[in-house]
Amino acid sequence: MHEASIALSLLEIAAGECNKSGYGRIDSINVKVGRASGVMPDALLFAFDAIKEGSIARNAVLQIEEVPVSGRCSDCRKEFTVDQEYVLSCPLCGGGSFTITAGREMDIIDMEVS
């Protein structure tokens, strides 16, 4: 729902980095978005394409890697990855003490500039 403000932050960070590098245009941006981050990749792409017009990233392609939710259980001491957006109990042993280790990301990894 707030993909537009996320796209705006993304563009600001990418444009800042591109300027720092001394190049004048961004060709692609790689981002990682966790499945539990609340961000819908399609909506983010749509928002990014709408705001990139007229910017240094106007020809940039946004590549989104979705990251599934993973965790580590302190009962069975195993690591797990699930398809859902949240975890109520360890999917391996049913235990309730676990830490989520991935799935909330919303990170820019790198980009191609020229």
């Binding site: 729902m1 707030h2 403000s5 996320i6 932050s9 993304l10 600001e12 960070i13 990418a14 980095e17 591109c18 590098s21 190049y23 981002v31 539990a36 981050s37 609340g38 957006e85 949240y86 109520l88 109990s89 309730g96 919303m106 990170d107 820019i108 990894i109 790198d110 980009m111 191609e112 500039v113 020229s114």
Partner: protein, 215 residues
């Protein structure tokens, strides 16, 4: 050429949130980011809390997409209030809050409530400089909400379960709301209240005083 970035997309928001938090800390104010879906009772909770706050000095930042109805309701109770209109944005961000900090007499306050835009999804993603997040869910919204909107339940320090006076009229299973909420967030404190009748409000206020270290 490839350029490594490795940066959180919301980093700019988080940075301003930290600045806001420093300003609040310097003024000695405890700040609550109050969140819920539209109509769950955030403003009603504020009205009840302000009416029964005892010696607590409360200020309010009201966030709405448009209009100032909520700020006017709070203003009538004689506490400092400032309105933010997001102009369409579905949540408050740290920059919007930063811009109105000068409009509240922070040095004269103990607790500031930042009433977020009514929305069960986005406000949970954006830090605004709060000490803790508190959410309101009215039982009339249904017992399926914790599992449908897990993030807000996971991020909140307290869940105010409002409109319990409607329990006999709606089919909500309060036990299920409690169970699912605690599964998502074992540390969360749950208060069953009715902002209409005042039921449960004293328990919430004494917890608030204890957590904030005020009053």
């Amino acid at each position: 050429m490839k350029v490594k970035v490795v940066s959180r997309i919301l980093e700019a928001n988080d940075r301003i949130a930290i600045e806001n938090r420093k300003i609040f800390d310097r003024a000695g104010v405890f700040v609550i980011n109050l969140m819920s879906g539209p109509g769950a009772g955030k403003t009603s909770l504020l009205e009840r809390t302000i009416a029964q706050k005892g010696g607590l000095r409360v200020g309010v930042i009201e966030g709405d997409i448009a209009g100032s109805d909520d700020a006017e309701r709070v203003n009538e109770l004689g506490v400092p209030v400032v309105q933010i209109n997001t102009g369409g944005a579905c949540h408050l961000d740290s920059n919007m809050v930063s811009e109105v900090l000068g409009d509240l007499p922070l040095d004269e306050l103990d607790v500031v409530f930042i009433e977020n835009v009514g929305n069960l999804v986005c406000p949970a993603e954006f830090k605004v400089g709060e000490d803790m997040k508190v959410m309101v869910l009215s039982i009339a919204e249904g017992h399926d909400k914790p599992l449908k909107y897990p993030l807000m339940f996971q991020e909140s320090s307290a869940l105010i379960l409002n409109k319990v006076d409607l329990a006999t009229y709606v089919d909500a299973d309060i036990g299920k709301i409690r169970k699912d909420t605690l599964s998502l967030n074992p540390q969360i404190k749950i208060f069953e209240v009715s902002c209409k009748t005042g039921e449960g409000i004293p328990g919430w206020i004494s917890w608030l005083k204890e957590r904030s270290g005020k009053g």
